[in-house]
């Protein structure tokens, strides 16, 4: 078995075994911590589709993460207050059903990504970075100044949303749900990375002229990747909001975008399982360093600098070596 595969199996097994142990040992906090890791991993996998596969350095994925969060917040808020979301031109009511919320979060984030991507991809390089960052900031300030859903204070949901046949308030059951989604997303992204789309997208990242010379348009590939990427991150946002039963403009802040990027980098850019390793490592760092000092972001910054300057492949690069070109 190649080392990368071994690492993937170990990682996913640990993510199954550890929360089960925590459940038996009656440590709900540790289950919640792992749930966060799994949700962050999904957000990172989303970004990785754009950043790792397509080479699109988006510093605005908080827009989709936050959008997913607010979809959950707004739908659940209307359900818990028994007020319709809108009545004209047709009636839309709130909902507490997770599958519905996930679907809406995915669709809306995909649409937002399509719009933002269509504009931002007219440019490239630094422009792209600054523009994606700016659009996310637009959402941030909009939610900050829009009083209907709590403005700066955010929106609280009393009871976690429901999933047929499960008690979602039980940490281990909610964890199981998130883990299942992680597996689904991983399976999809893994297939995508080996599919015609993945091959052509990766080629566009390496050499746009080549892609045009074989008859394809890099713009269309990038925009599709960016849309998928936003949709996945949006799903993670909905889950994150459900985990906390709370949404606020912070989900849209540029620090969120930076953190999602950190998950990808710590794990290894462009590796399908990289963001999973990255998110786990991030929360380990937070847990350990956060215990050492309230100013743990200084150490996080130092670790990040170290990775960028000296260990560009992230955890997967260190442990599994250079990515093998496989065919």
């Amino acid at each position: 078995m190649p080392r990368e595969t071994l690492l993937n199996v170990l990682l996913m097994t640990a993510l199954l075994a550890f929360p089960l142990w925590a459940h038996l040992a009656d440590e709900p906090f540790l289950i919640t911590l792992t749930t966060r890791a799994v949700i962050f991993a999904i957000a990172g996998i989303g970004l990785n589709v754009a950043l790792g596969f397509g080479g699109l350095v988006s510093l605005g994925h908080a827009a989709f993460f936050g959008l997913g969060g607010y979809v959950m917040g707004i739908l659940a808020y209307h359900a818990q207050t028994y007020t319709p979301l809108m009545e004209v031109p047709f009636l839309i009511e709130g909902t507490k059903s997770m599958p519905v919320i996930w679907l809406v979060a995915i669709v809306l984030s995909a649409l937002a990504a399509l719009a933002i991507g269509a504009l931002s991809l007219r440019t490239s390089g630094v422009y792209f970075i600054m523009i994606t960052l700016a659009f996310a900031q637009m959402f941030y300030f909009f939610t900050l100044s829009w009083p209907t859903y709590g403005g700066e204070d955010g929106l609280s949901i009393y009871v976690r949303n429901s999933f047929p046949g499960l008690n979602t308030m039980d940490p281990i059951q909610f964890y199981g749900l998130c883990y299942g989604l992680l597996m689904l997303v991983l399976a999809f992204v893994w297939a995508l990375s080996r599919a015609p789309f993945g091959l052509m997208l990766g080629a566009a990242r390496q050499n746009e002229a080549r892609v045009a010379a074989v008859g394809q348009m890099p713009y269309a590939l990038y925009l599709t990747a960016f849309t998928i990427s936003g949709a996945i991150t949006g799903l993670a946002g909905a889950l994150f909001a459900d985990l906390n039963r709370f949404v606020s403009p912070t989900m849209f802040s540029w620090h969120t975008s930076g953190e999602i990027m950190i998950f990808v980098i710590l794990g290894g850019v462009g590796r399908v399982f990289g963001p999973v390793a990255g998110a786990v490592l991030f929360l380990l760092l937070e847990h350990i360093l956060g215990g050492l000092s309230p100013y743990w972001h200084i150490y996080l910054g130092a670790v990040l600098l170290g990775v960028v300057l000296f260990a560009r492949g992230g955890l997967y690069g260190l442990l599994a070596g250079r990515e093998v070109a496989h065919d």
Partner: protein, 305 residues
């Protein structure tokens, strides 16, 4: 809206724009000359504000505080440039984003560690407090007027530096052709440090000037940084003139949008609803401006073809 109010708001917009220019000028120079995207530029703005607040508290002198803001920010700039930034020039944008984001974390948390989480206050000096009477019976804050003037003087100085001096010639050469300036015998590494320090000093200066109007706190540089990016996208990367025009456009759009949009919605909505709708839309105005520029001129108003 009455004419005096409109003029006052326009002046506020210009004042905001001029400060944004001080930020954006450094960013755009650093990108133009070194090809570096620097997320830590907002941190240097914050360093300037904190240096000014601490100096003012210790000496009571506003002028010394301003001087300290420039010196400390420029010094911090030289420090990070020589220790870290320098290794990033040849790297791809992703590495630059990550490393400078790491610097943002380190600066923010380091400042919190030294100064605590509570905001500091930097007071305007007495001789700049109060208001002045302008034509048309407009009473306007003396300090804001002073900021506009100082900002314009600095902007003029910068245009002179870039356009008329030897260093400026080297900077322009660096933007056009990196290999050529090496061939001209310019010490590139020193030029880069100098440009970075210049940008840092400008950012720190802006931080101090604004710090006297708003509070001095960790994270104060973040939103300014992103606004400066919007300015650069509108103006075109690498163009000082573009940064100036972009900064004024953004400053005016934001300030007037906040004033005018709620009034506009009040024409046909409930007052409370008009205020909130207007405010929410005003918060998006500059980003919509940016989107419009992107559709019409993807390289910005003054960007190369």
């Amino acid at each position: 809206m009455t004419l005096p109010l409109f003029i006052e708001q326009t002046l506020n917009g210009v004042q905001f724009g001029v400060m944004l220019f001080l930020m954006a000028a450094g960013l755009t120079l650093i990108f133009g000359v070194m090809g570096l995207i620097n997320l830590a530029h907002g941190a240097l703005y914050m360093v300037g504000a904190f240096a000014a607040a601490a100096t003012a508290a210790a000496t009571g002198s506003f002028i010394l505080a301003l001087a300290a803001s420039v010196v400390f920010a420029a010094f911090a700039g030289v420090l990070v440039e020589t220790l870290i930034i320098r290794r990033l020039y040849g790297r791809d944008h992703l590495d630059q984003v990550l490393a400078t984001f790491a610097l943002v974390l380190i600066f923010a948390e380091g400042t919190r560690w030294v100064f605590g989480s509570f905001p500091l206050f930097l007071d305007k000096p007495d001789w700049l407090s109060g208001t002045v009477m302008l034509p048309f019976g407009i009473e306007y804050s003396l300090y804001r007027l002073a900021i506009i003037l100082v900002g314009l003087v600095v902007a003029a100085g910068l245009f002179w530096l870039i356009g008329r001096t030897r260093v400026g010639m080297q900077i322009r050469a660096g933007e056009n052709d990196r290999e050529m300036i090496a061939a001209l015998g310019v010490n590139i590494s020193r030029l880069y440090t100098l440009v970075f320090a210049l940008g840092a000093g400008l950012a720190g200066f802006a931080g101090a000037l604004i710090g006297a109007i708003q509070s001095v706190q960790v994270g104060m540089g973040d939103s300014v940084l992103i606004l400066a990016f919007v300015v650069i996208v509108i103006g075109g990367i690498g163009s000082i003139k573009g940064a100036f025009v972009g900064a004024l456009l953004v400053g005016l759009t934001d300030t007037l949008g906040r004033q005018l949009l709620p009034m506009f919605f009040a024409l046909f909505m409930e007052p409370a609803a008009a205020t909130s709708t207007g405010a929410s839309l005003a918060s998006m105005a500059i980003y919509l401006l940016m989107a419009a520029v992107l559709i019409l001129r993807p390289k910005g108003l003054f960007g190369g073809a």
